[in-house]
Each structure stands twice: as structure tokens, then as C-alpha cells.
Symmetry: C2
Subunit: 148 residues, 2 copies
DNA sequence: TCTTATGTAACTCTACGCGTTACATTTGTC
DNA sequence: GACAAATGTAACGCGTAGAGTTACATAAGA
């Protein structure tokens, strides 16, 4: 199976930015929250910029902040922004076209893959960043504690 | 993303067995249709045996055949039989528990992942092997031609 | 006994994601 | 202008996983 944690980290990062409500957060601080390397975060931030979720500025005291309301960012959009491949992969080599099944199986599978992928994204679209953030607030009784 | 083509190949193999309607098919012939190595097929056949989709016998003239009607084999079952990992992966390292977001983001993500995975499988459950086979027949005007 | 086929181990090749270091560049501050 | 802080980005190493391949022991029918 595909096993990239980009989607998980992307939601995490955006949740932190939403939690900080417009304050600029550096890649180092985001990396400290995710527990990874700042460069990994910066690579991800580029994708989130392209998708229009965040703005990033260079220089001292700068960093990234949300450029869209958390209610306007669905998990499906985040998924599409950072996940390049589809969850399904077809044959690595072309099936034998002389076999009736091999001849048309890929076309059939493509339809199945497409509908499954659509169902997955529709489910993700039901949740947005604000909902995720709400859960964070529920679990976190002391929201003003120093986070890194 | 996860990118194993096991699911695609599994559907392909089962479709060939369904097409052959109970006739024993060797891993070599299945491999020829999929266009891969027989050992790759055999490894997959073991999973399909465990799932109860097929029976396999050794010896001359033997091979695998379906042990369940194509209408009784849904794509969701095939998916679960051969795909070990989930389409989503969480953080590679544990998030910073001192951060409010890091502290509870994984639990929230698990819920999201579970519902998305469920939606995906529900969509796959709408299709079964018989439907796939039907499409093959539609496309294939000469079903008795020599297939390998 | 011979042939055919599976089960399975062991190995290589390849691709990819993550992590890391390094550095040029930009931007704000003193 | 000098300095500090931050991003953008290249380059590399590491670990993992799937696919493909070879080889061989074992089973089963002819």
C-alpha cells in the first residue's frame, strides 16, 4: 500500500496554524510539534502554499499563516494538495492483450478505482479543518500553554 | 501513496478463473495473462486461498479454480484479502505531546482515516467478480479463442 | 518412474519517502 | 550597513517494500 504520511502531517501543520489564529509560525516550530526535521516541513509547506491554504514569508519573525478560514479548508482538499498518487495501482506491466481478460481488465479496473477514490474523497470532504481544531480544543483544557 | 498492484492483479487472476468456469488453471498460464512471473502469481494465490476464494491442487494438469460463485465475491473482500496496509499512514514518529495539537491530532486522524477507509470499502462492495466478468464478455466477441 | 505443478526460500533491482546537512537568498531589526 | 532569522532548494544517505528472478524440495497424476 501507499504509505506516505504527508497527508497526516499536512493536517497536523494546518491544525497548528489554525490554532495559532493568524500568527506566523516558523518551520522549526512546526517541525517541533510534528517531531521531524524543518526541511521536511518546508517541503510540505510549498504544497500547501500552491493549494492556497497558507501564506509564507521569509525573514526574522516570519513563517507561515493560514490564508483561508479553517471552515473553508476540507480534508479532501488537503488530501488532493499533498497526495500525488492514487491509493490504487494498476498492473506494473501491460497485461497480455491476446487474453480476453487481459485485454480489457485494466479499463474495468480504472472505473472501479475511480469510483472508490471518489467515495474516499467524498468522505474526507465531510470534515474540514475547523472540525479538527474543535476536537483539539475539546481535548486541550489549557489552550494557552506554551506550545512549540 | 501506497502503490502495490496486488489488488489489480488479484482481480485479474480471479477474473480469469471465473472466465474458465471451474477449469484448473496453472500459475504459468495466469502469469502469461497478467504478464508477470509465475512465482508472483503463486504468492498471490496463497492469499486468495486463505480468503477462501479458490482451491489449488498440485501435480500435472492441476492448478487453481474458483471455490465460490463469482457473484459471491465482492471487490471489497478481494481488497481486504490482498491489501495489508491501509491507504493512510500516520506520523512516522510520535508527535510532540507537549503541543496541544500534537497531543491529540493522531486520535482525530485515526477517526478520519477509519471513516474514509470504510467509505472506500463500501464503494468496492458494490461490485463483485461477476460484474467484472460480464464486462469482459461484453468486450470480448470471441470468448473461445485460445487464451494463455 | 516421469512429468507437471505448487510452495517457498533467497536474492537482486528499483523506487520512494524520510531525514539530514549545507548554503544561497530574503527580510526584519538594531 | 551589519546581523540575525527564516525560507527555498539541492544533494545525499538510509531504510523499506514490491516486483521480479532463480532454484529446489515436495506433491500428484499419467
Amino acid at each position: 500500500m501507499r504509505t506516505s504520511c504527508r497527508f497526516a502531517v499536512a493536517v497536523h501543520v494546518l491544525a497548528v496554524l489554525a490554532y495559532r489564529e493568524g500568527e506566523a509560525v516558523s518551520s522549526s516550530r512546526l517541525a517541533a510539534s510534528v517531531n521531524t526535521n524543518p526541511v521536511v516541513i518546508r517541503r510540505l509547506l510549498l504544497l500547501l502554499q500552491t493549494a492556497g491554504f497558507i501564506e509564507t514569508r521569509k525573514g526574522a519573525g516570519s513563517g507561515s499563516r493560514l490564508s483561508r478560514e479553517p471552515t473553508k479548508i476540507s480534508l479532501a482538499e488537503i488530501y488532493r494538495a499533498v497526495e500525488t498518487d492514487e491509493p490504487f495501482a494498476s498492473h506494473s506491466k501491460r497485461p497480455n492483450q491476446a487474453c480476453p481478460v487481459g485485454h480489457c481488465i485494466q479499463a474495468e479496473l480504472e472505473k472501479v478505482f475511480a469510483s472508490a477514490e471518489a467515495a474516499l474523497q467524498e468522505e474526507l470532504a465531510k470534515t474540514n479543518l475547523a472540525k479538527i481544531l474543535k476536537s483539539v480544543h475539546v481535548y486541550c483544557s489549557a489552550p494557552n500553554k506554551d506550545l512549540r
